[in-house]
């Protein structure tokens, strides 16, 4: 799970709770689901968190949540941005693979070392989580004073060789351009470098460029952002050095590009909220797409309609409406009571149109229990309109609001109850058969084994001299692992004997006789299966001892056959892993289902064994 580093002193400062000891803070953080993992080298808390509350990826967001937890803040707070002076113009040349951009201007930010570190961490953590390692969304933060707005005609020329377009920016406003450039179409000085390079060179030679090269290397044109001076950002790879942010920076330009507008807008909100908590002023930016315009950041709130009865059902307790409203405010939400009839019907009924029985259901339950399973309610019931602040990315459904209310209430304060619901338990037939056969095998003196299902071609085939896909028992074509990391685990085993031989090989220092058995999973390609993989269980056994022989194996096979009341025949056969003339097919109730015999000395040598081994293996289903 991801971690975030938080300076406890900053946390005390931002929450206004100077009196809290480190241990108290740790307890309070655990209550938020942020688990203390240890101290960093700089004495910061390293906290592990579940990746839902991405608004808590920096000290500012964690402090905000704690203020709600302490009751020092209530309800929803939304900063009011100043109106836009800057425009990001999106050129037609922008690569199709990465069409979206968003942005904001941040003014009067006080970036001391701590605040800058926190901002950089927030950027990295957002990249790692919501940004899907920058593939879905990438953040660029620039020193605004280093940017020169204009209509950026030069960028267009460089970008695609198209006719320069007239700048579409509002009169008097400043414009930068998001464009696509040829890989060697322009040059700039990237961060951590003194050299001017083309985007293609950055991908080849710059360390950060190499790391993220895969994200854009398939593009015909690379994403680039220009101001009046020239190219200053090469998203999602690296910014230019010219606009690098430092502790001296007062005004910032934040831009984000990505494959989904919602995702980058939400990432932007989280950054804006963090900087606003540091006292900065947010200023809108106009995003001018070829066919429409957006004003960003989008700090509008969302509303979810949540049924009172559903809250009570999920939490298993009775609540007053005032209590619900209080819990919502303590979660940083705002809830207002509303009769279901007052809200738009469409928004409160689950669209189940493709499901049978909906109408009966609606009619039968009507006014009585009145809630549908999605947490909304049908007419007449008490519901809440709950306002969700713009930094929340995890509230997908009214149920998520109920989870917040439960957290604020304290889940651990709820009394557990055993559900008063009667059901009949039972085992799967396959699992009962497996258990019965295992009991028999142990009674026959076998040590029951549990081996890995994954193996490799050498172990599964070569060491016992069988060829994949040949007629030999066990030699089915394997299901193979795609791009395996370990050469030990590249296929699913097609039979059990190799696993048993490996255990014998590793235990030559242990006392004999070694009678080992396994009832285990194996698989091989099978076109008749929907998945293309035929999966089954085999019963495998080896008997290793100074006087082990065919009869020992056959005797035990006979015992199994007798106990399961099946008819066993063992007509002679040949198998590369077994001694010729001492090998038979296992034929149960007329079907050829396995093999029994003495292991060939060549194989014994291969496994470093100095005793004879008799073995059998057959399909578990044959005993059913």
């Amino acid at each position: 799970m991801p971690t975030v580093d938080i300076d406890p002193d900053e946390l005390r400062e931002l929450t206004g709770r100077e009196e809290k000891s480190d241990d108290e803070l740790k307890d309070d953080l655990f209550g938020l689901g942020l688990e203390f993992e240890g101290l960093t080298e700089d004495g910061e808390f390293e906290l592990e968190f579940a990746p839902d509350r991405l608004d808590r990826l920096s000290v500012e967001g964690v402090a905000r949540s704690m203020r709600y937890q302490y009751g020092d803040a209530r309800g929803v707070h939304v900063p009011s941005p100043n109106s836009a002076e800057w425009t990001i113009e999106v050129d037609e040349s922008v690569p199709d693979e990465r069409p979206y951009v968003t942005g904001a201007v941040i003014r009067d930010v006080n970036l001391d070392e701590d605040a800058l570190d926190s901002l950089i961490q927030l950027q990295e953590k957002l990249h790692a989580t919501m940004g899907r390692k920058r593939a879905k969304g990438a953040i660029g933060i620039h020193d605004l004073t280093m940017l020169k707005g204009g209509d950026a005609l030069r960028a267009s020329e460089n970008a695609s060789g198209d006719e320069p377009r007239a700048g579409s920016a509002t009169e008097g406003a400043s414009t930068i351009q998001y464009v696509g450039v040829e890989p060697d179409g322009d040059r700039f000085v990237p961060l951590d470098s003194d050299e001017e390079m083309t985007p293609a060179t950055v991908l080849e030679t710059h360390q950060t460029g190499q790391t993220y090269a895969d994200l854009v290397s398939g593009y015909d044109r690379y994403p680039a952002i220009y101001d009046d001076i020239g190219l200053f950002s090469f998203p999602p790879v690296i910014n230019g050095r010219r606009t690098e942010v430092s502790t001296e920076s007062r005004d910032l330009f934040v831009e984000m590009t990505g494959t989904d507008q919602w995702t980058i807008d939400k990432m932007l909100n989280i950054v804006c909220y963090a900087l606003s908590a540091r006292g900065a002023t947010i200023e809108d930016v106009t995003i001018a797409y070829p066919d429409h315009e957006l004003v960003r950041p989008d700090l509008s709130t969302k509303t979810k309609t949540v049924a009172h009865s559903r809250i009570e059902t999920i939490l298993g307790i009775d609540l007053d409406p005032d209590e619900v409203i209080d819990l919502a405010e303590r979660s940083g939400l705002e809830a207002t009571k509303s009769e279901d009839g007052e809200t738009d019907d469409e928004s409160t009924i689950t669209p189940l149109e493709d499901r049978d029985g909906l109408e009966e259901r609606g009619a039968a339950e009507g006014s009585e229990t009145s809630q549908t399973t999605d947490g909304t309610a049908s007419s007449g019931a008490l519901v809440y309109d709950v306002t969700i602040p713009p930094y929340r990315v995890d509230v997908l459904h009214p149920l998520d609001v109920i989870d917040d209310l439960g957290r604020a209430y304290g889940f651990n304060d709820l009394e557990p109850t055993y559900p008063d619901v009667g059901t009949v338990g039972g085992r799967h037939e396959r699992s009962r058969l497996e258990r019965a056969v295992r009991t028999q095998l142990v009674g026959l003196g076998f040590e029951d084994l549990l081996n890995f299902h994954m193996s490799n071609e050498e172990e599964n085939y070569e060491r016992l001299e069988i060829a994949p896909g040949s007629d030999a028992y066990g030699a089915g074509e394997p299901a193979t692992i795609k791009e395996p990391y370990s050469e030990d685990y590249t296929i699913l085993r097609t039979w059990l004997l190799p696993s048993l031989m490996m255990v014998l090989e590793r235990n030559t220092h242990r006392s004999y006789p070694q009678h080992l058995s396994e009832i285990g999973f194996r698989a091989a390609l099978d076109d008749s299966e929907n998945t293309g993989v035929g999966e089954s269980r085999h019963v495998g056994a080896v008997l290793a001892n100074h006087d082990a022989g065919y009869e020992d194996a056959k005797a035990r096979l006979q015992a199994l056959a007798r106990n399961f009341d099946v008819d066993l025949e063992t007509p002679p056969t040949e198998h590369p892993a077994f001694i010729s003339g001492r090998t038979a097919s296992v034929v149960i109730d007329g079907e050829d289902v396995g093999i029994v015999g003495e292991i060939h000395p060549k194989a014994l040598i291969e496994y470093d064994l100095e005793v004879p081994v008799a073995a059998f293996e057959f399909d578990l289903e044959a005993l059913r």
């Binding site: 655990f30 689901g33 579940a50 899907r132 879905k136 989904d260 919602w262 995702t263 509303t303 979810k304 999920i314 298993g316 928004s347 409160t348 689950t350 669209p351 399973t373 999605d374 947490g375 997908l396 459904h397 009214p398 149920l399 989870d403 439960g406 889940f411 709820l414 557990p416 109850t417 055993y418 559900p419 619901v421 009667g422 059901t423 338990g425 039972g426 085992r427 699992s431 258990r435 095998l441 142990v442 003196g445 040590e447 549990l450 081996n451 299902h453 299901a479 692992i481 795609k482 990391y485 696993s499 255990v503 590793r506 006392s511 006789p513 698989a523 929907n530 998945t531 293309g532 999966e535």
Partner: protein
């Protein structure tokens, strides 16, 4: 007087004038020494022999001692190398001397720690001197080694080495002392009288035979006594694998709680493993690094078309007007790709959808204890393949209190009390909880499972109209908690040590 045959034999071999050792009597009577010892004790009991015990101490060189006897003590070799290097006049670089001496590994430390003690010279700041007056041929320890090298298991008294030197050699692990008790037997006067009067051999029987029983002779015989306290031969019967025993135990508990067992494919479409669970397709857990995707076969032939459509819509739009879905790409080809299941929740989605055994009506409880595959680093607590305990309860109007009550009951069966529920996040459950329990022996708080109520966006496309709560945990983790095993690899796989499996404590 009647006595058992072996006692008669011992009495006849022993003498009243000269003490005879048990070994000597064994040789004389042609009986095994342990039989003679047994007979001697019984005779002593009835006052026919007197037994004197004495403890003999023998010494022998250890393998290391023999080695030094052959090629000199390390400190002597160091001294000779130091002399060679001119250390008798000026201090010389120690590294060079060690190199020249040919000492390696632990022998270097041994040489250094004994060097100064025995006055061969001084070691200081990485330099070494050799005292020209030292004389290796007068080294008592070296000489003792030479003396002892020919004499294996010699009696201490018989070797010409002083006690201090022996003690020093023993301290250095070059010598081993062995103590053995020698019993010497003399006849008492009574025995002499009885012998003169004549002894009869009583018949004793070793084995109950069919002949003995049918003839009725068993009534007249005496049964030879056994040493019933002695260890018997080691017997290796079969055992059910320890982890299987644990899995059986878990299954027993769950069946007792009203759960039905599920079964299904290990290699399955990502659709069943992840998409049906409302896991977004760009979720980090669905990337190559966590899963075992299959190369061949690569895709499932068929998925239920209408279900695919409903699942895709839930991902894109959510369920209900107030629901948003994910802002993530969704591609059917990706959903059809095959992988080894990363969790057995794929069984739950198959069962809940009605595809596996038809529509399931509430109330219902289902479980499985089956293998899941995860591309993790193999270490003491992680395996690439592990058994996941998976369970769910389907009913109208389930609450988190029901969830807590069910899991408290389950874990209590394994002695894990005081379950704590930490609010958590899973893409497919809300609310979600990580379960923590107190380790029965260490008292530590340990994560023992993950749980929650399945989301509407997951259940609705599957056609489930009531609540379902679910949980999962690794069987290996439960086994480690309840058996105290510390390395998961001891429990599972072809690295298994038979000794471990043979000696593992039974779980029930």
């Amino acid at each position: 007087m009647q006595l058992p045959a072996q006692q008669v034999a011992v009495l006849e071999a022993a003498s009243a004038d000269e003490a005879e050792s048990v070994d000597a009597l064994a040789a004389a009577t042609d009986l095994p020494p342990e039989t003679v010892t047994g007979a001697v004790f019984e005779l002593e009991e009835v006052g026919l022999v007197a037994v004197a015990e004495r403890v003999d101490e023998t010494i022998a060189l250890t393998d290391e001692g023999v080695e030094y006897a052959d090629e000199q003590l390390p400190e002597v070799r160091l001294y000779e190398a130091a002399l060679e290097a001119g250390g008798d006049s000026d201090p010389v670089q120690m590294g060079r001397v060690i190199g020249a001496s040919g000492l390696e590994g632990p022998q270097v430390d041994i040489a250094l720690s004994n060097y100064a003690r025995k006055g061969y010279g001084v070691i200081d700041s990485g330099e070494i001197t050799a005292d020209p007056d030292a004389d290796p041929s007068a080294d008592a320890e070296a000489n003792a080694l030479e003396t002892l090298s020919g004499a294996d298991d010699a009696a201490v008294e018989s070797v010409d080495v002083d006690a201090d030197t022996l003690e020093e050699l023993e301290r250095r692990g070059l010598l081993e002392r062995t103590e053995s008790t020698v019993r010497e037997v003399t006849l008492t006067e009574r025995a002499v009288t009885e012998l003169m009067a004549g002894l009869e051999t009583a018949e004793t029987v070793g084995q109950v035979t069919p002949e003995l029983l049918t003839s009725g002779e068993w009534e007249d015989v005496e049964f030879a006594e056994y040493n019933v306290e002695a260890d018997a031969e080691t017997f290796e019967g079969g055992n059910v694998h320890v982890l299987r025993q644990m899995s059986e135990r878990v299954k027993d508990v769950l069946v007792g709680m009203g759960f039905q067992e599920m079964d299904g494919p290990h290699a399955d479409a990502d659709f069943w493993i992840n998409d049906c669970l409302f896991m977004p397709q760009d979720h980090p857990a669905r990337t190559h690094w966590d899963r075992f995707a299959l190369e061949q076969p690569s895709h499932i032939d068929e998925l239920p078309e209408d279900l695919v459509e409903r699942v895709e819509r839930a991902h894109r739009e959510g369920i209900g007007e107030d629901s948003e879905g994910y802002h993530s790409p969704w591609d059917e080809d990706f959903a059809r790709a095959l992988a080894l299941r990363g969790h057995t929740t794929s069984l739950s989605t198959r069962y809940l959808s009605g595809e596996e055994i038809g529509e399931i009506e509430p109330p219902a409880r289902y479980f499985s204890v089956e293998k899941a595959y995860r591309n993790d680093t193999l270490d003491a607590t992680h395996l690439l393949e592990f058994y996941q305990i998976e369970g769910w309860v389907m009913a109208e109007d389930l609450s988190v209190r029901d969830l807590m009550g069910t899991f408290e009951e389950f874990y209590a069966q394994f002695g894990i009390e005081d379950i704590q529920f930490k609010p958590h996040y899973n893409p497919y459950t809300e609310p979600s909880f990580e379960l923590f329990g107190t380790h029965p022996t260490t008292g530590e708080l340990i994560e023992i499972g993950n749980s929650g109520i399945f989301r509407e966006e997951m259940l609705d496309p599957l056609g489930v109209e009531c609540d379902v709560m679910a949980w999962g945990l690794a069987l290996e983790r439960l086994a480690m908690l309840t058996t105290g095993a510390e390395d998961i690899r001891d429990l599972h796989g072809t690295l298994a040590d038979l000794e471990f499996l043979r000696n593992a404590e039974v779980t029930y």
